[in-house]
């Protein structure tokens, strides 16, 4: 214990001395992440220096083994480092799907050669990754993927299409599910493959959403040659690898919730209600909006308390309880209800798409509302979540 306290003290003093003051407070900024890659874009003037000083200490990915460029910190130390970074309200020095998704999966399934090639490039921020899973005919039924990989000597020739690939237009490499076998059960013919996005035959097109521009892309593969050495796991064993990666993704999403947020002093819904609906004798003038606001805040409270209960249970040494299976569906539906309530609060002022006669916040709300409709669809639809709860928790029969 004393060693950990010493570690915390040394981390704290180093950060206080060296971390760029200009980045302190930027922890909550949505556009504040540095994603690395062949064409790096630094969000703030100090981001480059911050990244480089942390890279030097091995702290861009502190919990990975030193032999692959990580910091070699154990779980407790990595937790302490993250807490100390958050304490100064600093953004993380490097982010991306390399760290959160493909990296942990490489550590789990990669050959020594693959680990030595791919992991250091992630750590050094040199390569930016994207995910090629879904296809037009393979959404909830992911095993239905049809992108074909045919053997040609030491390579595969890949033909097909991926959809919903976030930042496909900015990524350097893609990890993808391809079909190497069409006979037998769907899952058995799936292979997990890593490919360079600059390979001839790869074409990326951004997808526009009802909310406007988005990071999502379609990625087309026309006779793309990929080395068979880039199979992660075994040929035909890709489904297991894919599921493992989804587990790491879920851990990442769960972790996002626990990072300290720069909370505004007043609840934004309350502030909006006071501004757009008005108070009389201390009460919101519209009793229905007032009631809906109370309900929304109660929902938020019950949700937060359930997240806490799950966390308290794990701290007490128990496994994650069945309550954790409700987080995705409940959290996303709650977010949608919150957005809809905000629309009701703003009234016609919420209808602005762009330009004159609308506040910045009003325009942002309209986009946020539209975008929120996707929350219950992406990452496993609500219907699939209910199926999972019914099957795994309630043990209802197929």
């Amino acid at each position: 214990m004393a060693e950990l306290e010493e570690f915390r003290a040394s981390v704290r003093s180093w950060l206080e001395e060296n971390a760029p003051k200009g980045l302190m407070g930027k922890i909550g900024d949505v556009e504040g992440g540095f994603w690395g890659g062949r064409k790096p874009v630094y969000p703030y003037p100090e981001s480059k220096a911050w990244f480089e000083m942390m890279l030097e200490r091995g702290w861009t990915v502190p919990h990975w083994p030193k032999e692959y460029g990580g910091g070699g910190l154990n779980k407790d130390e990595a937790k302490i480092l993250n807490e100390e970074i958050a304490r100064l309200k600093l953004p993380l020095p490097l982010t991306g799907f390399g760290i959160t998704m493909i990296g942990p999966t490489l550590l789990q399934y990669g050959t020594e050669e693959q680990k030595k090639k791919f992991l250091p490039e992630i750590v050094r921020g040199e390569i930016r990754w994207c995910q090629g899973y879904s296809e037009p005919n393979a959404g909830s039924d992911l095993a239905n993927i049809q992108t074909r990989a045919m053997v040609d000597g030491d390579d595969f020739i890949v033909n097909g299409q991926k959809v919903w690939t976030s930042y496909g237009n900015l990524a350097d490499w893609i990890f993808m599910l391809v079909r190497t076998q069409t006979e037998g059960k769907k899952q058995v013919g799936i292979t997990f493959l890593l490919a360079d996005m600059t390979t001839p035959g790869v074409d990326v097109r951004p997808i526009k959403l009802i909310s406007g521009n988005s990071p999502f892309c379609e990625v087309f593969f026309e006779d793309v040659r990929v080395s068979r050495a880039n199979v992660l796991g075994t040929a035909g064993g890709g489904w297991e690898v894919a599921k493992a990666l989804l587990g790491h993704e879920r851990t990442m999403i769960a972790g996002m919730g626990s990072r300290v947020r720069t909370g505004k002093a007043e609840n934004p819904m309350e502030a909006a209600a006071k501004k757009y609906v008005g108070l009389k004798d201390g009460k919101i003038v519209d009793p229905i909006i007032r009631d809906r606001l109370a309900q929304a805040q109660m929902d938020e409270s019950c949700f937060a308390l359930t997240v806490q209960r799950n966390s308290d249970n794990m701290k007490a040494g128990h496994n994650p309880g069945p309550e954790s299976s409700i987080f995705k569906i409940y959290g996303t539906e709650l977010n949608q209800r919150r957005n809809e309530l905000m629309l009701s609060i703003l009234g016609p002022e919420c209808l602005g798409w762009e330009g004159e006669g609308f506040d910045k916040d009003e325009l942002a709300l309209c986009r946020a509302w539209l975008r929120s409709r996707g929350n219950t669809i992406e990452g496993g639809t609500s219907e699939i979540q209910l199926n999972i709860i019914a099957k795994r928790v309630l043990r209802l029969p197929d």
């Binding site: 309350e270 209600a273 006071k274 108070l279 201390g282 009460k283 919101i284 007032r290 009631d291 606001l293 109370a294 309900q295 805040q297 109660m298 409270s301 019950c302 949700f303 308390l305 359930t306 806490q308 209960r309 308290d312 249970n313 007490a316 128990h318 069945p322 309550e323 409700i326 569906i329 409940y330 219907e383 209910l386 199926n387 709860i389 019914a390 099957k391 928790v393 309630l394 043990r395 209802l396 029969p397 197929d398």
Partner: protein, 380 residues
């Protein structure tokens, strides 16, 4: 605050659940109803619960209790709620017991705390009047000052466990108008007081509730509980505790109704399959489960907030009661629907949970009442 049961609470939970499972299945409650049992609960069962220590939990050691907290209370009431055990925990221990613990004179405590903890005497609190909904200040019953005390007149309705109670704490107005928060006083009236009539009412959840009529009942100065004119304030604090105890009961009931439903989905065969294979029912059952988990979290939090005297305790009490009110009625309604025809029969137990859910919803404030209180506490 930690939303986990510690070792002692886990043991209490296990023994309480075992006790109710072995001694208080729904058949017991059903029989009391079928027999039109005047008391509506069992004195013997109540004393057994007292022997288990349930009645002592919340009282301080000075008052003869165990000096534990609401976190332990909700464990016990949840177990009781699973079996719809009708014993007078809410009325006697929470309402009357806490009114005396927090506002009783040394003489009143001396006279009553020991016996109610023992389970040999039962006290009730008459705070509700027809048309008052959930406003503790809606008191028309009058307390006229006399030369040696007060003269009480008026009518109280649906007094929990009022019938057969050895004494009733009554709220009556010493000053002010109906609806004024100031001017209400609590009086401890023994059952044999002249002018007091207590009539057992028949309520949909078959619980002992009584119509209490006061016809010029003489009450001495020494019968005042707490401060003259400050009854609403004392009642408010006491009702917050009782509310969370009730939330525990509701949590138990909604879990039992859900378990019955889940069991039915796994055994009922129609169209050559177990009906639990139908996705529509799977999804509804999964949503019931979600509500149970969310409700459990807030009930635990409200109990602990009261124990810690947290600054947001009233907000959590209201959040818990609103949640329980909505969740219990929803789950019980769904249970009846999903059990189909038999869900509507009296022979099936699930209807009892639906009835109790509604009665519990309308005790100490329904969801709308608590959303209003929540908003006011939050400043909007």
């Amino acid at each position: 605050m930690e939303l986990v049961l510690n070792e002692e609470q886990t043991m209490l939970n296990n023994t309480a659940r075992e006790f109710i499972k072995d001694n208080s299945p729904i058949t017991r409650m059903r029989k009391l109803r079928d027999d039109n049992d005047p008391l509506g609960y069992s004195k013997e069962m109540w004393q057994e619960m007292a022997e288990l220590g349930w009645t002592s939990i919340l009282f301080s050691e000075d008052d003869g209790g165990l000096g534990l907290g609401m976190a332990e209370v909700v464990v016990v009431t949840e177990a009781m709620g699973r079996g719809l055990a009708p014993e007078p925990f809410l009325s006697c221990i929470m309402l009357a017991g806490q009114a005396l613990a927090q506002g009783g004179s040394p003489e009143q405590k001396e006279q009553w705390l020991g016996p109610i903890i023992e389970g040999s005497q039962v006290l009730a609190v008459a705070y509700q009047e027809k048309g008052g909904r959930y406003d503790l200040a809606h008191v028309a019953a009058k307390a006229e000052k006399t030369s040696n005390g007060y003269r009480l007149s008026g009518e109280k309705t649906q007094v929990l466990d009022g019938f057969g109670a050895d004494a009733i704490i009554v709220s009556a107005r010493t000053s002010g108008e109906v609806g004024d928060a100031e001017g209400v006083t609590l009086f401890l009236v023994p059952k044999d007081a002249a002018g007091l009539t207590v009539t057992r009412q028949s309520r949909v959840d078959a619980r002992n509730v009584a119509l209490v009529k006061l016809n010029n009942v003489e009450a001495q100065e020494s019968s005042v509980v707490g401060e003259v004119g400050q009854g609403v304030e004392l009642l408010g604090r006491v009702v917050d505790l009782a509310t969370v105890a009730l939330c525990g009961e509701m949590l138990g009931g909604m879990n039992a109704a859900y378990e019955r439903t889940l069991g039915y989905l796994k055994e009922r065969v129609q169209f050559d399959v177990v009906i639990g294979t139908f996705q529509g029912l799977k999804h509804r059952a999964a949503r019931m489960f979600m509500e149970l988990e969310l409700t459990r979290s807030v009930v635990m939090a409200a109990a602990r907030a009261l124990d810690e005297n947290a600054p947001n305790k009233e907000i959590l009490v209201s959040t818990a009661k609103a949640r329980c009110s909505d969740a219990y009625t929803h789950i019980a309604n769904e249970a009846v629907q999903m059990l189909g025809g038999i869900g509507m029969t009296d022979e099936e137990d699930v209807g009892f949970y639906m009835k109790r859910a509604r009665a519990a919803e309308m005790t100490f404030g329904d969801a709308a009442y608590h959303r209003d209180r929540f908003a006011t506490l939050k400043g909007y």
